[in-house]
């Protein structure tokens, strides 16, 4: 496919900083202790099944999904549970975590550890869903929505398009990029598995044009799989946003307040699709993921395969430690990620990157007066007026905020990135959304 697609409204072009795109994924190894949070997804925390002193293996179920919108949590190491209590997380808040002291590296016997690629999908729809559910797979692109819920389509909705999100538009991050290069075939088989759940025959792998190796690899492999195609997209932030990607690939617009399945689309991050492949074909629970450790202050940036629960600080040490000029450490990407309060916080199913940023790069200037340049309006991929949202939020004008669709904000941060007056527009948007939601109840 030669025509490159993109979404129509707004968008920005931040510097890419994809310094690790040529670094192969290496195994991070085993830390001494892992801290596994029982809530690594949207929904209710999982119910803890283990207690202090229990011996666990890699893949042992630690906590059981509590309700439909929840997810199982498994052990990522073998060893002894030393603590089941609240530990400080990445935001500095106490989170319920299971602490395991690592002893050896023994897997649950049901897990297929071989490197063989399994291509035949002998399972029924219900079996596949059950395997994904019991492997604790959640949306790994960042939202953490439990995958079984996302792929369960109500009878009155008809899905005709599966999109694999290989955009990874955040600067620095290359975890999905490397996964597409190194696990291309598994991802394509994962797409066929989801096809089987949805009862459709086609899938589109959307990749933006700054990942030539991933495009080439997947284009070669998809030739052997009928119905799976690569769609090259123009590089633009936030193309990885679900609604923006659907618009780019299919031209369809998800109506305000509705879900992608309302326009017949399901979007899955390529990392999630790989996890689905491993869950279904290899009986492997989601206990590890790819993490990019990078940043302009990172001495030795790399892509790692990391066991869930590994402390971020342990990964940073493997990359040369925290330099003197490091001003901020970010969990996730620099546009939407959070700056870490506690660098000992663990990697979760949703941590796509750990970034060490200098003050030069992440410095925030004090807020100045709006000069009405309109750059935020041009940048907003939703067509909102961030300057107006900021003004209404400051004045606490709730009804007006709702009228200008503040709830449609996807919190991509394009407005705050572009604002020459350095107004923290995203903060005002988030605050405005919170206020509007409060009055709704």
């Amino acid at each position: 496919m030669t025509n490159k697609k993109t979404f129509s409204i707004g968008g920005i072009h931040p510097d890419k900083y994809k310094i690790t795109s040529d670094c192969p994924i290496t195994d991070a190894g085993l830390p001494e202790t892992v801290y596994i949070p029982v809530k690594q997804h949207i929904g209710s925390p999982a119910k803890i099944l283990v207690k202090k002193g229990d011996k666990v293996k890699v893949g042992t179920l630690l906590a059981d999904a509590d309700g439909i919108v929840s997810s199982d949590v498994h052990s990522s190491v073998s060893g002894e549970v030393t603590k089941v209590e609240e530990v400080e997380g990445e935001f500095g808040y106490l989170e319920s975590m299971i602490t395991i002291k690592v002893e050896g590296d023994e897997f649950e016997p049901s897990i297929d550890r071989s490197d063989d690629i399994v291509k035949e999908i002998p399972f029924t729809h219900d079996e596949i869903i059950e395997k994904i559910r019991s492997a604790g797979v959640v949306g790994m692109g960042g939202a953490g929505y439990p995958t079984p819920v996302k792929t369960s389509v109500p009878d009155n909705k008809k899905i005709d398009c599966l999109i694999l999100n290989g955009i990874e538009c955040e600067p620095f991050l290359t975890a999905d990029d490397r996964l597409m290069v190194e696990k291309a075939e598994q991802i394509v088989i994962g797409a066929k598995i989801i096809n089987k759940i949805l009862g459709i025959q086609n899938a589109v792998i959307a990749i933006d044009e700054n990942k030539p190796l991933a495009i080439e690899t997947l284009t070669q492999i998809t030739k052997r799989y009928i119905g799976v195609n690569v769609q090259i997209c123009k590089t633009k932030y936030p193309q990885g946003g679900e609604r923006q990607l659907i618009k780019a690939v299919t031209g369809r617009e998800v109506p305000s307040g509705r879900l992608p399945m309302d326009v017949g689309c399901i979007v899955q991050n390529v990392g999630t699709v790989f996890a689905i492949y491993e869950a279904v074909m290899k009986n492997k629970p989601l206990f590890e993921r790819i993490v990019t450790v990078s940043g302009d202050e990172c001495k030795n940036p790399q892509n790692f395969r990391v066991r869930i629960g590994t402390p971020a600080s342990w990964l940073i040490e493997k990359c040369g430690g925290i330099s003197d000029d490091t001003a901020q450490i970010i969990f996730g990407g620099p546009m939407m990620g959070t700056s870490a309060v506690n660098v000992n916080a663990p990697i979760t199913k949703l941590t796509s990157g750990i970034l060490l940023l200098s003050d030069r790069l992440s410095h925030k200037e004090p807020e100045q007066d709006c000069i009405r340049c309109g750059k935020c309006v041009d940048a907003c991929p939703v067509g909102l007026r961030p300057f107006l949202i900021a003004r209404y939020t400051k004045e606490n004008m709730i009804a007006e905020l709702r009228d200008i669709n503040v709830l449609d904000c996807i919190e991509c941060g394009s407005c705050a990135y572009i604002c020459p007056a350095r107004i923290p527009l995203l903060d005002y948007c988030k605050l405005g959304k919170m206020e509007v939601k409060k009055t709704k109840k």
Partner: protein, 330 residues
Amino acid sequence: MLKISTAPHLHSSADTDTLMRGVIIAMLPAALVAVLFFGIGALKVILTSVAACVLWEYLIVRYLLRQPSTVHNGSAVITGMLLAFNLPPTIPAWMILIGAFMAIGVAKMAFGGLGKNLFNPALVGRVFLFISFPVQMTTWMKPSIRDFLNTDVQSGATTLGILKHIDASSSATSLTGGAESLPDYGQMFVGYTGGSLGEVSALALLLGLAYMLYKKIITWHIPFYYIGTVFLMTGIMWLITGDIRYEPLTHLLSGGLMLGAIFMATDYVTSPMSVNGKIVFAVGCGILTFVIRLYSAYPEGVSFAILIMNAFVPLIDKFYYPRVFGTGRK
């Protein structure tokens, strides 16, 4: 010590100061042409105007509002340069001081400072001077490269001034009206004609436009639709009537059209924020410029056209904004 802050953690390198500096750089070619053609007097006007605007802003912010100085952002320098661009090279310094006060003190600071003013400050200053001192404000100078340091005023007329006095009945074939003849297109393009300091050279102004577009300081919409509207309307009338006074290229290259469309109608603060709003605003400026130039007592229409459209900006912003993703609403 690590910092904690909210997302996004990266920011575009263009902040307010950078954008303002970009606009100043974009105005330099026009300033250079002014000094080249009108001599040392033009330089004096520019420097006086910039100094006066910066001084007024500093005095008002520091001693009236008692706030930290805001002159570093460069917006007062831009106002000063734009005001100078709108003045004849022979204007006395005390008048510039008054114009600068009207621009900064009344049009900008009285409305709350940068970002809050309704009308373009430089244009308010210019129009105030134009109405108060019509003689001094319309004493034009003949351009000359050789007499750089010669301050003797050899008065000349502006292209539009000549056009205005052409007798409608005799104009169809003749290019001469009264005592002076119209400059040719080449002279108008490089700016070898009488007029306000910064408006004469279309070439220099277009260079500035190219720079601002390249640096993504402004979008192309306002200059394109403004100039396009004037060109289209005069062109249609010219084709219908054959009257030399409608000749579209002359209108394009003369008067304050290029200066207004490139540097003043595009002022962030006093123009609409959305693309559609910008187009409505620019077309409105174009229509008003056409009407004032051709059917009013004034030969020049750009200043009034932009100021009138400035007043409509809040209304335009209310009606024209982007469609929200996933809604049918306009």
